[in-house]
Amino acid sequence: MSAHRIAEVAKRGMGPAQELAKIVPFVLRTPTAIFQGVREDGEAEWLCYCGLPKRAYRRESGDQILPYENEVYLVYVNADRVAYNSRWEDCHRNKKNLPVDYETRFDRRVL
């Protein structure tokens, strides 16, 4: 995680900062899946970590809440293993620990 990214997220307030501080490391450490090849145009080494956090945070207040139902948390990592984006997304309709369309949006699953 770059200092630039940390500073940008911190500017957005306590909610995004809590997410970065606590949810991103959790997902990186205990993913339910890791996918490789997240885009076209040759970024075959980029990774997407998928996880099921035990909490979420309200954006404006930073208050802790229950995790969002039927959603997973994704952390995107580039070829230099720098995390550059993270967010909540809908889960797959049958596999609640995987992101929607996981079968087609990544090159392959590595974990």
């Binding site: 630039h4 911190a10 909610g15 606590k22 490391p25 145009d41 954006r59």
Partner: protein, 142 residues
């Protein structure tokens, strides 16, 4: 949490300025991911991938688009300039109005039937939001 995670969390949270008013829109070109993140409204959201280039952020209360992520920015800009060289006039130094990027993507999609899967409508909504918020981005060297 591990010791390292605790230290990381402390570092991140120490950067938050509690009384700082959030400036909107937020438009940032992240060089690590070569992506532009656009946040127009400070609302809790979930992300929804549109295609390999664009993800939209959907407000949890409004159910409206409140932002987006454009991926592979340098390739996107290069592609736009290749197709529409006149786009260069919209880039001032390294700054460009976000609505122009969405407009150019709409033009590209219009001429490629394979991409007309609702993508044009999404770009149109993003363009409208970017224009309403006077969203501009400074492009980084990647």
């Amino acid at each position: 949490m591990t010791k390292q995670e605790t230290e990381f969390a402390e570092l991140v949270l120490s950067k938050v300025e509690p009384n700082r008013e959030l400036e909107l829109p937020q438009v940032v070109h992240d060089p690590d991911g070569d992506c532009i993140e656009f946040l127009a409204v400070n609302e809790d959201f979930r992300a929804k991938r549109v295609n390999s280039l664009v993800t939209v952020y959907i407000g949890r209360e409004s159910n409206e688009i409140v932002g987006s992520l454009i991926k592979g920015v340098n390739a996107v800009i290069k592609g736009i300039l290749d197709d529409f060289p006149g786009f260069k006039v919209e880039i001032d130094g390294r700054r460009v109005r976000l609505q122009h990027i969405f407009t150019a993507k709409m033009w590209e999609a219009k001429y490629d039937d394979d991409k007309d899967d609702g993508t044009i409508e999404v770009y149109a909504k993003l363009r409208q939001l970017a224009e309403a918020k006077n969203a501009e981005v400074e492009l980084c060297e990647v």
